[in-house]
Amino acid sequence: MLRKLFLLSFLFSFLFTTAQNDQDSLWVRENYTKKEIYISMRDGVKLFTAVYTPKDMSEKHPILMNRTPYSCAPYGADFSGRLLLSHWKYYCRENYIIVIQDVRGRWMSEGEFVDVRPFIKDKKTNNDIDEASDTYDAIDWLIKNLPNNNGNVGVFGISYPGFYSTMAAASGHPALKAVSPQAPVTEWFLGDDFHHNGAFFQMDGFSFYSGFGKPRPKPTTIGPSGFDFKVRDNYEFYLQAGTLKNLAKMMGDSIKFWKELYAHPNYDEWWKARNARNAMYNIKPAMLTVGGLFDAEDCYGAWNLYKAIEKQNPGIHNKLVMGPWSHGQWSGRDGTKMGNIQFGSNTALWYQNNIEIPFFNYYLKGKGTDPNLSEATIFFSGENQWHNLNQWPPANISNQPIYFQPNGNLSWNKPTASKSASEYISDPAHPVPYTEDVHFDRTAAYMDDDQRFASRRTDVLTFQTDVLNEDLTLAGPVVADLAVSITGTDADFVVKIIDVFPDDFSYPNSAAQQGRAGGGSYPMGGYQMLVRGEIMRGKFRNSFETPVPFTPNKIEKVKFDLPDVAHTFKKGHRLMIQIQSSWFPLADRNPQKFVNIYEADITDFQKATIRIHHDAANSSNIVLPVMK
């Protein structure tokens, strides 16, 4: 979700106004016609729909649909920039009928919008609508009414439209042959967007929902305005805001979802009903789930939607693609790097031409042979290679714990000391920044940023292996298994898996390294590349439904999942783990006192000493999916 996606589509649309683009745009304008229509749903609500039809009548054409809460703008005769300049233009070259629909309750569509609307398994009346039924009704109307369609429909979308793609797959409409949920919003309490393991991603949530969440009483082409931030430094803004209570005050009380969010601090039935995976049974269309290894928003969703479909629909055509991408980067032009990390080739373009377009061409146009995609096409960063795997996680992994040791060491051997721990003071007045520089909009690149700024802090623990004497490849989920004791009654635990580059590392052809301010490329020697970071709100360690306080100074287990990784730590590198108790302002601060944080007062926030134990009896470790 998030407004980044907005930025993305516009960025890619308008930034690159090359001659080729001008030519492509001209071609689409000359060869397509646009119509705007309302399609009635079973309960009488009409959804606003833009239909782009090829002028070509030499054959019947399939329909490719995108359902969105972000508007099918521009309204009127103008063409959407997505057709003209994103990789959608390749679908235009193939004469797809392109349909973009405002989902129920957004923009020009009638009805009431419900965020991540729960899927209704047993619909009893025409008033039992959900996003699956809306998609069903839309498809039904389209294939019956659009001239020259070939009866095959595909749905795709990135981010929130990824969620609508998931729901489309659950519609069961027989004309729907292929669906590609991409960075699909899937689970907003456990891992996507709003929360990760119960910790509130306040910055993304607030900046997005202060605009997106505003009520829209009647259809409109005019979007909501966002919050008028007076402070241009997000660390300062959220620190000044102090409490979630105060953030709610700033948000005002008109934003329904924000209030609901506060009313559901734990993983209760309300959240569970919004888990998109509930809808993933009896799936008929061919599925292609796509995501980014370094997607700050819906990395969880991509991995876990794929897994749920696989588990709940054995045997169907269900494929997974994960590339080295930020949120939606695969739809753009440049997948050669993210932040400071280079991937060696244009992975986005490769994906478009070798995966996505052949997938839809085959299932919707019957064109070409079965692209015979591997079950999982996964890019391994570090090694910078695509791997074609016949299952995910791959069969040839072993889950190996790597143990924290005294003196910041990390090794495969269990520690032997009878008592040993590392500790730091976590001070909510000085939370650990999630990225180095002062800025306002959450960066995309924090997901593979250099963590040296964090290593230098007194409130971040670092553990690292010796220099690796052979490549170490991780493929699959990572589990943090910490033995901790704290002086408060709650705390957050952020675990970061880091690839430490050799001191003499530099990318070929990179400019002279930065010596003084201003010049040169980023110094890559000794770079501490974040491969995966995840947070766990301590009170949910035993159950997301029922939080429990810590007993001060008592050693307890905090075990949690990090999203899957696909990365090779090259020979000569090191593997580093960092542990910290804040990740600000990405996640809200834990008061370090067991309270309902949405109701916490500023006086509830307190310093705490955090101990990570690494002795024989309490051997904190990270379980790594080591590929053989």
């Binding site: 002062v438 001191d503 301010a517």
Partner: protein
């Protein structure tokens, strides 16, 4: 000094290229020669004589430890002095100082001045300058009998060193960013804290031995040249200062490095090198030049001027302080630095109207030299100001008290007991700059300090929003009341101008969000054990409150209405300075195990009211 000196060549190159790359060759004749000193040692000297022999010229001399390059009478450099002076024409003399490059003899670090010379063996920079001038006056034709000296950085020291016992022909001297006191405030140490990053990276090259005392070339390298991209990590991995002198690095073979490590207090070695004490009864016009953002010799410029002023009160002694980094006034253009924008090329004004005019007037009797006693650039408002003394009289020493809840207050606190504290951990020292750098980040002196404010080991005290402009002019005093759990600790005090939220970005570079920026104005370190006397280190008594009072270098800065004044206090500044083990030991001998965490408390109550004294202009 430091390796940045090499940049200076580039500055002058730029100037001359702008005119004509053959300008020097077309207008000057180059003579390479040696000049014999009173003790028989020969110093390599290059003389550029104007080809136009229709008039007599004064001699302008620079003495340098960084080589008079290029050697050989047919090899001309593209530039030899700032453009205006090159056009104006002087007999320009450059000399390798004793013991450096092509000159014979033994080089001494900032050679001590010998006031009472007893024999021809008692040589120093003053006598070498004297002997050189004697020779020049005798053997050069076409000179007008007057000599001027100038130099930036280490050559600035050699300019200063010509003043005591000066040859009577010396009529004008301009020490610029002069190395002046390397224990108190220049280059090697500030208040006894060792400037590890600069010292190491400079001495790695400068301290190469000259095998066999020959004058040709240096043994290179002294040790395997270091190649690191992250100075923070490199010096942290080095673990101790002792290790710098281990087999991987200097290995006991660096002359200066040995001396640095041997003299870790303000002992006779350093005292004898304090040229300030000898700047008495000077009667030669002096133009002292320095940069507010000079990371190396800001102290030297301010205190060379101050020492002459105090000990030679009737001398024509001028001071120019601009918005410059080390030697930046030599560049053709200087309109901005980091996020500071000056609006105009401040260098043209300095080079033409001050520097060139000074030498022209005192060496050629031409034109006017009408500069004020002190020509000072005011940061914050970005304008030149002119004072008839420095610091100006119309300032009031104003106390700003550190308070609870991160406040900086005008009123003395009244609480009976109040303090702020942090844990200073030598294993995780506070970085002096944000980001990863191999060389020293030259912008650290004006850098946004928000990266530091987020840390738990940095204390922040901030005033209310100013309701009117506040200008400070002169020196700043930090007066802290502290207790520590160890027996030694460093105290870094940073004076910061907090920009308002409405401040517009001048660019969109990461880390340069101007709104709310905590821009450094002035910072200084005090190595705690020297709190009473740089010569006599004393330990702290753990837990006992002690006063740590020290001076920060002068500033001329306006905190504008709508801004805030901020003070940050921390106990490391790495790897700019080495880490204090926080245990009272001889730090060059400290073992890894001597480095220990400590709790640092800064008191702000009625009896122990830590404060900063700012020279506020009335």
């Amino acid at each position: 000094m430091k390796r940045y000196l090499f940049c200076l060549f580039i500055f002058y190159t730029t100037v001359s290229f702008a005119q004509n790359e053959n300008y020097v060759k077309e207008n000057y004749t180059k003579i390479d020669t040696t000049i014999t000193m009173r003790d028989g040692i020969k110093l390599y000297t290059i003389i550029y004589v104007p080809k136009d022999s229709s008039q007599r010229y004064p001699i302008l001399m620079q003495r340098t430890p960084y080589s008079v390059w290029p050697y050989g009478s047919s090899n001309y450099p593209p530039g030899i002095m700032p453009g205006k002076m090159m056009e104006e024409k002087y007999i320009y003399v450059k000399q390798d100082v004793r013991g450096r490059h092509m000159s014979e003899g033994i080089n001494e670090e900032v050679t001590p001045y010998i006031p009472d010379k007893k024999s021809n063996k008692d040589v120093d920079e003053s006598s070498d300058t004297y002997d050189t001038i004697e020779w020049l006056l005798k053997f050069l034709k076409n000179h007008n009998g007057r000599v001027g000296l100038w130099g930036i950085s280490y050559p600035g020291f050699y300019a200063t060193a010509s003043l005591p016992g000066a040859h009577p022909a010396i009529k004008a001297v301009s020490p610029q960013a002069p190395v002046t006191d390397e224990f108190a405030g220049d280059d090697a140490n500030h208040n006894g804290a060792f400037f590890l990053l600069d010292n190491f990276s400079f001495m790695e090259g400068y301290d190469r031995p000259r095998p066999g005392g020959t004058v040709i070339g240096y043994k290179w390298p002294l040790f395997s040249p270091t190649n690191y991209s992250d100075a923070y990590k490199f010096f942290l991995d080095m673990k101790t200062i002792k290790e710098s002198n281990g087999s991987k690095y200097f290995n006991g073979k660096g002359k200066y490095w040995q001396e640095y490590l041997a003299h870790d207090t303000y002992d006779d070695y350093w005292r004898s090198r304090n040229i300030r004490q000898h700047l008495k009864n000077i009667t030669i016009p002096t133009l002292v030049v320095g940069g507010w953002f000079d990371a190396e010799d800001l102290f030297g410029a301010l205190n060379t001027y101050g020492a002459i002023e105090k000990q030679s009160p009737s001398n024509k002694n001028f001071l120019v302080m601009g918005p410059w980094t080390h030697g930046a006034w030599g560049a053709a253009e200087w309109k901005e630095f980091g996020t500071h924008q000056f609006g105009a090329n401040v260098n043209q004004y300095f080079q033409d109207s001050i520097e060139a005019a000074f030498f022209k007037y005192y060496l050629k009797d031409k034109g006017n030299f009408s500069a004020s006693e002190a020509t000072m650039f005011e940061t914050g408002t970005n304008q030149w100001r002119h004072f008839d003394q420095w610091p100006p009289v119309n300032t009031k020493a104003t106390n700003f008290y550190l308070g609870s809840n991160n406040k900086l207050l005008h009123d003395k606190p009244i609480a009976a007991k109040s303090f702020s504290e942090y844990i200073s951990d030598p294993a995780k020292p506070v970085p002096y700059t944000n980001g990863v750098y191999s060389d020293r980040n030259n912008e650290y002196m004006i850098e946004d300090q928000r990266f530091a404010a987020t840390r738990p080991d940095v204390l922040v005290f901030q005033s209310d929003t100013l309701t009117e402009d506040m200008t400070i002019a002169g020196s700043i005093v930090a007066d802290l009341f502290v207790s520590i759990t160890g027996t030694d600790a460093d105290f870094i005090v940073k004076l910061i101008d907090v920009l308002p939220e409405y401040e517009k970005d001048i660019n969109n570079q990461p880390g340069k969000t101007m709104a709310g920026m905590q821009r450094l104005v002035r910072a200084e370190v005090m190595r705690g054990k020297f709190r009473n006397d740089l010569s006599k280190p004393i330990p702290f008594v753990p837990g006992k409150i002690a006063e740590v009072k020290f001076r920060l270098n002068d500033a001329l800065h306006t905190f504008k209405k709508g801004h805030r004044v901020m003070i940050q206090v921390q106990s490391s500044w790495f790897p700019l300075i080495d880490r204090n083990p926080q245990k009272f030991v001889r730090i060059p001998e400290a073992k890894e195990t001597d480095y220990q965490k400590a709790i640092i408390r800064i008191y702000h109550d009625a009896s122990n009211s830590s404060n900063i004294i700012l020279p506020v202009m009335k």
